[in-house]
């Protein structure tokens, strides 16, 4: 069977078209992945940015005798459903501490109810038409406005949406990360030094290597089970504490630090080692004075990336109980605490509309920190990277 030239050139065209198609399809796949990323960030920004603003009401507070018993007496009656309960609640307390205030009055911006806040941002809310009219009137008079949300960055968790903030979670994250870093960094670097510079190539070393690669791929929730069974139930570490969470995360971060440290150590050329041995250094002196300083930028980069990973981890921390409700900002390694991802998880479970915004706001804070950490790691690598 033979084909004419025409048929063959037709066939060839088809084959080239097919070939071109693969290029476009694969380009499309990459584009699709990029599109996911863009959509994701656009969605988070649109949901989370409003959380950085909060509705405030400028009103007169009358510190009367009645107000020291019932905080609501200090405000206009039609404002009471619009002002945050937390503001009303503190007035009697304030008057008890400063009795000389009684009889005076004050004009001040008060935190508004989350329903008012959601209404001003155009979200679903439970305000009546009459209340909406009241707000519109005051907006026109400049007495109700969206202002920078100090509460969100300055206070701990709360069941009242407008009063909930992320600070206690940020402090908890810092405490937990301190524990994680203090444990994982030295042990990880020491392990990597041993495996790269000291260990003989025998069964034992190979077992450790396989084991480390496996640990890196074990689901994180299993580390939570380990933390619960060994650290909390066996060693009696306080549940929900940064100590328990930090130790659990340290074991998870260990493989990341070990693997990146080994890569950094391996990239130091042997000529450096030979020169140091040549002038009579012992093995430990070679490592301490020559190899380690040269590998340090790589080790730091890997550790920062590992730390960022641990910072975003939630599942093992839920298992060791770090989803506690923490209204007060306090720094202790053994008291109950929460971390940013856990706070995001808690808020995402709240039914109120206002908490959706809080959740997305918390996510933006977390993502900003993680992206800065990673960017810092990249800059560090770029700045100190050496080609031998």
């Amino acid at each position: 069977m033979s084909h004419t030239f025409d048929e063959i050139s037709q066939q060839l065209k088809r084959r080239h078209r097919k070939s071109a198609r693969l290029k476009w399809v694969s380009m499309g796949a990459l584009g699709l992945a990029g599109l996911f990323l863009v959509l994701f960030f656009a969605d988070m920004l649109s949901k989370g940015l409003p959380a950085f603003q909060q509705a405030y009401i400028n009103t007169e507070i009358r510190y009367s005798e009645e107000a020291s018993r019932d905080g609501r007496q200090a405000f206009d009656e039609d404002l009471i459903p619009l002002i945050s309960r937390t503001e009303v609640r503190v007035i009697p307390l304030q008057l008890r501490n400063n009795p000389e205030l009684i009889g005076t009055s004050e004009q001040r911006w008060m935190l508004a109810n989350s329903e008012v806040d959601q209404y001003l941002k155009g979200h679903r809310n439970r305000l009546s038409d009459q209340e909406k009219a009241e707000i519109e009137e005051r907006v026109a008079a400049g007495q109700v406005d969206l202002r920078f949300n100090k509460t969100f960055f300055g206070s701990g968790d709360s069941k009242i949406a407008e009063n909930a903030g992320i600070l206690s979670a940020v402090v908890g994250t810092v405490m937990t990360m301190i524990v994680t870093l203090l444990i994982a960094f030295p042990i990880g670097v020491m392990t990597a030094i041993y495996l790269e510079e000291f260990a003989p190539d025998n069964r034992f070393t190979q077992a450790i290597e396989i084991n480390i690669n496996n640990l890196a791929a074990i689901p994180s929730i299993l580390f939570g089970l380990l933390g619960l069974a060994i650290f909390i139930n066996f060693f009696g570490v306080p549940r929900s504490s940064p100590l328990a969470g930090g130790m659990t995360l340290a074991l998870m971060t260990l493989p990341v630090i070990i693997i990146s440290t080994r890569t950094a150590l391996r990239s130091v050329p042997d000529s450096i080692r030979h020169a140091a041995f040549g002038v009579g250094c012992s093995r430990w002196q070679v490592v301490r004075d020559h190899v380690l300083p040269l590998a340090m930028p790589g080790i730091m980069t890997g550790s920062i990336i590992g730390l960022a990973q641990a910072m975003g981890e939630t599942a093992p921390l839920i298992i060791v109980g770090m989803v506690a409700f923490i209204p007060d900002v306090g720094a202790s390694f053994t008291n109950a605490a929460t971390v940013m991802p856990a706070q995001i998880f808690t808020w995402s479970g709240e039914p109120e509309q206002a908490f959706v915004e809080k959740t997305a706001g918390g996510i933006l804070v977390l993502l900003t920190i993680l992206i800065s950490l990673n960017a810092f790691a990249v800059v560090l690598r770029k700045k100190f990277e050496r080609r031998w």
Binding site: R15, K18, S19, L22, K23, S26, M27, A29, L30, L32, A33, G34, F36, L37, F40, D43, M44, M190, T191, Y194, L195, F198, A199, I208, I210, N211, I212, N213, N214, L215, A217, I218, P219, S220, I221, L222, G224, L225, L226, A229, N233, G236, L254, W284, Q309, G312, E313, T314, A315, I318, I319, V323, P341, F345, S348, I363, L366, L367, L370, V378
Partner: protein, 416 residues
């Protein structure tokens, strides 16, 4: 005295003894050297040896003692332990200082100790694995004493509700059923959806990056894809539950289908997005290390570029690509936050991905976050589920490592 205070006191005293050891050792070594004797090591090295011999044994005694204390209950009062380790420290100080002699190799002794410390650090990772295995297996065994293994593996009803009553002293817990089939069905359904998204997109992206893209696009695209892997899973979970799930429900409604807000598609798709970089990154490396001679041979025979990729490059890279996919799959099986936030809580044995269903990891979290007794069957069931999860992911990881090793040996590439 409180244990915390005792620990603090111990550390302080040890620090002071260590400082004393350093200065006494150094002073003595300097004196010996000043007297004209030739010494094997520097005064600093003798000083550090004294510090090590003071602190090392004492810390060891303290650690072993407290471990025994924990294991045996409080049979030795902490105060005795404290005193014992301080006596050891003092003895160590005396020995360390006595060893400051010209013919003693202080540097070699220190370096031997350092080597042991480094090897000890390397052992921690082994301990971690054994710790995970031990904690999971011991609790899972206790679970299997209450409920049969066979029932757990083959049962189709997961209903731990009644065991909660039993642990509260009401009822006998006989109504509780722990059949894990619906949980594994849900897990595999969501994993399958994730792989359906991640494998084509990841693989095609890898093909584009390694075979078509100009170097500039490649250097930008790779780190941008890595961002997808760096986003915390709790954030993906929120995205799946709040943004993707309603979209899925709307699309299903458009086709006249009834979808739950906790459907399996939303977490599956979002999980797939998360896994894309795991697959694309490793596949990209693998495709890049397929030798160019194979491409040249194929092009010389008149194959088009597309045919070369499809019929020569991909088949050669297949072990690596499968390895990447298995790693991605193990990641999907163990993923927790996305499913906890976006998938359902109800064990549901169904083939319809638009219904709500739950997964192994969701039930582990649910079992361990309630106000339950640790001894209850429901809490322990989390460890039984964890055991199965561990076994499955471990197998996938090992197979994946073996495949990539085969690829590496075949083409003699060292950078994978």
């Amino acid at each position: 005295m409180q244990t915390n205070q005792l620990l603090l006191l111990f550390c302080t005293v040890l620090l002071l003894l260590g400082l004393a050891a350093y200065f006494i050792g150094r002073a003595k070594a300097s004196r010996v050297r000043a007297s004209g004797a030739a010494m094997y090591a520097q005064p600093d090295q003798y000083a550090w040896f004294a510090v090590l011999s003071t602190a090392g044994p004492a810390v060891l005694v303290g650690a072993v003692g407290s471990l025994l204390l924990l294991l045996l209950g409080a049979e030795i009062p902490p105060l005795y332990l404290f005193a014992a380790s301080l006596v050891v420290a003092a003895a160590g100080l005396a020995v360390g200082v006595a060893q400051v002699k010209p013919q003693f190799h202080a540097r070699q002794a220190i370096e031997r100790v350092i080597r042991w410390i480094l090897a000890g650090a390397a052992l921690i990772s082994i301990f971690t694995t054994f710790g995970i295995l031990f904690s999971i297996i011991s609790e899972a065994l206790r679970f299997f004493q209450m409920h049969s293994f066979w029932e757990f593996i083959t049962g189709t009803t997961w209903n731990p509700g009644a065991s909660f009553l039993a642990s509260a002293g009401r009822g006998d817990g006989s109504g509780a059923e722990f059949g894990s089939v619906p949980l594994f069905a849900g897990t595999f359904m969501i994993t399958a959806i994730a792989m359906l998204v991640a494998v084509p997109v990841g693989l095609l992206s890898a093909i584009y990056m390694s075979e078509y893209a100009p170097a500039r696009v490649r250097t930008v695209a790779k780190p941008v894809l890595e961002v997808l892997a760096g986003i915390p899973t709790v954030v993906y979970g929120f995205f799946a539950a709040i943004t993707v799930a309603p979209i899925i429900v709307n699309i299903a409604g458009f086709f006249g289908l009834d979808a739950s807000y906790n459907n399996a598609v939303a977490p599956g798709v979002v999980m797939g997005i998360m896994i894309i970089p795991f697959i694309s990154s490793l596949s990209d490396d693998v495709i890049n290390s397929v030798p160019d001679s194979m491409r040249q041979g194929s092009l010389a025979l008149g194959m088009t570029k597309g045919e070369t990729i499809r019929d020569v490059v991909i088949p050669a890279a297949l072990p690596g690509i499968i390895s990447a996919s298995l790693l991605g799959m193990s990641r999907a099986l163990g993923e927790t936050m996305i499913v906890v936030m976006a998938a359902g809580m109800r064990p549901n044995l169904t083939a319809n991905p638009l219904e709500d269903m739950t997964t192994v990891t969701v039930r582990i979290v649910a079992a361990l976050t309630g106000d339950q007794e640790f001894e209850s069957a429901e809490t322990l069931s989390a460890f039984a589920l964890g055991l199965v999860l561990f076994a499955v992911t471990l197998t996938l990881n090992l197979v994946s490592v073996l495949m990539i090793r085969r690829f590496r040996e075949k083409y003699r590439v060292n950078n994978l």
